[in-house]
């Protein structure tokens, strides 16, 4: 199940969207999230859906792959749809069976909210699928740059993020090893009642924490020896490159806003 889950995963590829500057992509997604709320009628939502599908198409991610990977999200989507369907009591009565009564406004709201939810999930997934975590970190670091003035430790936050990302696979491996070592000693993880299972996690977590602290200490030493003295006077190996496509994407977004505003009821 974990393999199929695409939330927060990065799939390397070569498309217009893949090649975009991470700063542009992050800005684009954040602005898009705000713009989604401009739509308030069938036209608006149809345009949003069309626009999202266009972006997915440009990113060369197969729609089937996206839908398949987001299955857990769809359960939530269907749940919200029915919530609106059953509990909104406005407009004409369309259908009634026993205690179930469905109104026109309920159906409308259900569909609209679902579309809104869908385009948001699709758009953010496209961002994480086409941008490597390290590029996202770089993008965030630059975009948050202005906040250095109010003493926000932007560089440190970005470094923390990239080191955590770097150590996820290492710690996963380690967890696997500890799990096997504990199982070899007869510890039974993954069976029995909930309370027992929670208890069984403790002998897994403690060695993991101990080793994580050890690693952190070693890493700090290695960084210091390699001349790390905080963000001051540092140059960057990864350069971000703002190109025409990045400006165009934001122009396109402005266009979308105008169109949505025009069709707004």
């Amino acid at each position: 199940m974990m393999e199929k889950m695409i939330f927060g995963r990065f799939i390397p590829g070569d498309s217009v969207v893949h090649r975009m500057d991470p700063r542009a992509k992050i800005l684009f997604v954040f602005l898009f999230i705000a713009i989604v709320f401009v739509a308030n009628n069938a036209w608006g939502y149809a345009i949003l859906l069309g626009f999202t599908l266009l972006v997915v198409f440009l990113s060369k991610i197969r729609l089937y792959f996206l839908i398949n990977g987001l299955k857990p999200v769809f359960i939530l989507l269907i749940f919200t749809f029915f919530l609106h369907l059953f509990f909104t009591r406005e407009g004409d009565l369309l259908f009634s069976f026993g205690f179930i009564e469905i109104y026109e406004e309920g159906l409308r709201q259900g569909i609209f909210i679902s579309i809104r939810f869908l385009v948001l999930v699709f758009m953010t997934s496209v961002l994480t699928l086409t941008t490597s975590p390290i590029s996202i970190t770089d993008g965030i670091e630059v975009l948050l740059g202005p906040f250095k003035k109010i003493k926000l430790p932007v560089h440190e936050l970005a470094l923390m993020m990239s080191i955590s990302l770097r150590f996820i696979p290492t710690l996963m491996d380690e967890t696997g090893k500890i799990l096997k070592a504990q199982m070899a000693r007869g510890s039974d993880i993954g069976s029995g009642p909930m309370k027992e299972r929670v208890k069984a996690v403790v002998p897994l977590l403690i060695p993991l924490f101990v080793s994580a602290f050890k690693r952190a200490e070693d890493l700090a030493t290695a960084m210091e020896v390699r001349g790390y003295r905080g963000g001051e006077g540092r140059t960057r190996y990864r350069q971000l490159n703002w190109q025409l496509a990045d400006t165009l994407s934001l122009v396109l977004l402005a266009g979308l806003t105008a169109v949505l505003w025009y069709f707004r009821a």
Partner: protein, 282 residues
């Protein structure tokens, strides 16, 4: 050629100076290393060799005596300047990998020292080709073997064009193949650039490759000399918990068994050479 790179002058260091019963981790140690040398610092666990590594790069300062690197006495003021000219590779391959990919990691020290971008790209490329890892520049650390990670760590040090490379137990967590890769890389580097290398190790096979060995025991310098001279101490080294190289142990055992071998052998090849000559003589 004969400029002094690093020296210890009567260096003593105790971890906790308040506790009177604490034995100094390093006691009255004096030695000096000249440019172009390959020195092995050997000793059993607790012999003080790791503490010496920390004294060399200014993670610790001596209680008594002086540590001089590149002619400057190690102090808070000279520390960063000295560190920028010295590369260091540690024991655990995973815990010194800072970057998300191989090339990011090699660039880390360059970024810290404010090297301009254009120069950085070139230096990263050169350093990676020196350790033969240029094909892996976009790889993530968890897709590399231990030996490959250590080679990347060496490249990270080389990118700064250091005058001195310190290997602090850099091969002790590797499998035999990874160990060979790393030793081979160092040997090649020394041939092509004449880099000064200090390898801190408890493996005498590795130490045998050095030009000079300094043996540490209980915080004190026990003996210093060429590998052949040091290994002559045989039983004393064994008592300190150090294992002689296999070829030497074999030579001793053969001699005890009455095989009249002519000389001491530090490598298996040389021992085999003499053995087949021995039989053709007999």
């Amino acid at each position: 050629m004969n400029t002094e790179i690093l020296s210890f002058e009567n260096v003593t260091f105790t971890y906790n100076t308040e506790d009177e019963t604490m034995r100094p981790a390093v006691e009255n140690v004096t030695f000096s290393i000249e440019s172009g040398e390959w020195i092995a610092l050997v000793g059993h666990n607790g012999s003080g060799k790791s503490t010496m590594a920390k004294l060399m790069n200014g993670l610790l300062f001596p209680n008594e005596g002086k540590v001089k690197v590149f002619g400057h006495t190690m102090s808070e003021e000279t520390l960063w300047d000295i560190r920028s000219q010295m590369g260091m590779v540690f024991q655990n391959p995973d815990n010194q990998f800072v970057g998300a990919t191989v090339q990011d990691d090699v660039a880390f020290a360059l970024e810290n020292n404010g090297v301009p971008h254009a120069q950085m790209v070139e230096r990263v490329h050169v350093a990676l080709s020196q350790v033969k890892m240029e094909d892996y520049k976009d790889h993530e650390p968890h897709h590399l073997s231990g030996g490959q990670k250590q080679r990347v760590a060496i490249a990270g040090a080389l990118a700064m064009r250091p005058k001195l490379l310190i290997l602090d137990e850099a091969t002790s967590m590797l499998d035999p193949q990874g160990r060979m890769e790393v030793i081979e890389t160092i040997r090649r580097l020394r041939e092509s650039t004449g880099l000064t290398v200090i390898s801190i190790t408890h493996d005498l096979e590795e130490a045998a490759l050095a030009e000079r060995i300094i043996v540490m025991n209980r915080g004190q310098k026990h003996v210093e000399g060429t590998p052949a001279a040091v290994f002559n101490e045989g039983s004393e080294l064994t008592e300190m918990g150090l294992d002689l190289p296999f070829a030497m142990r074999m030579t001793h055992l053969l001699q005890e068994a009455g095989v009249a071998l002519q000389e001491e052998h530090m490598t298996e090849d040389k021992l085999v050479d003499e053995l087949w000559k021995y039989y053709s003589r007999a």
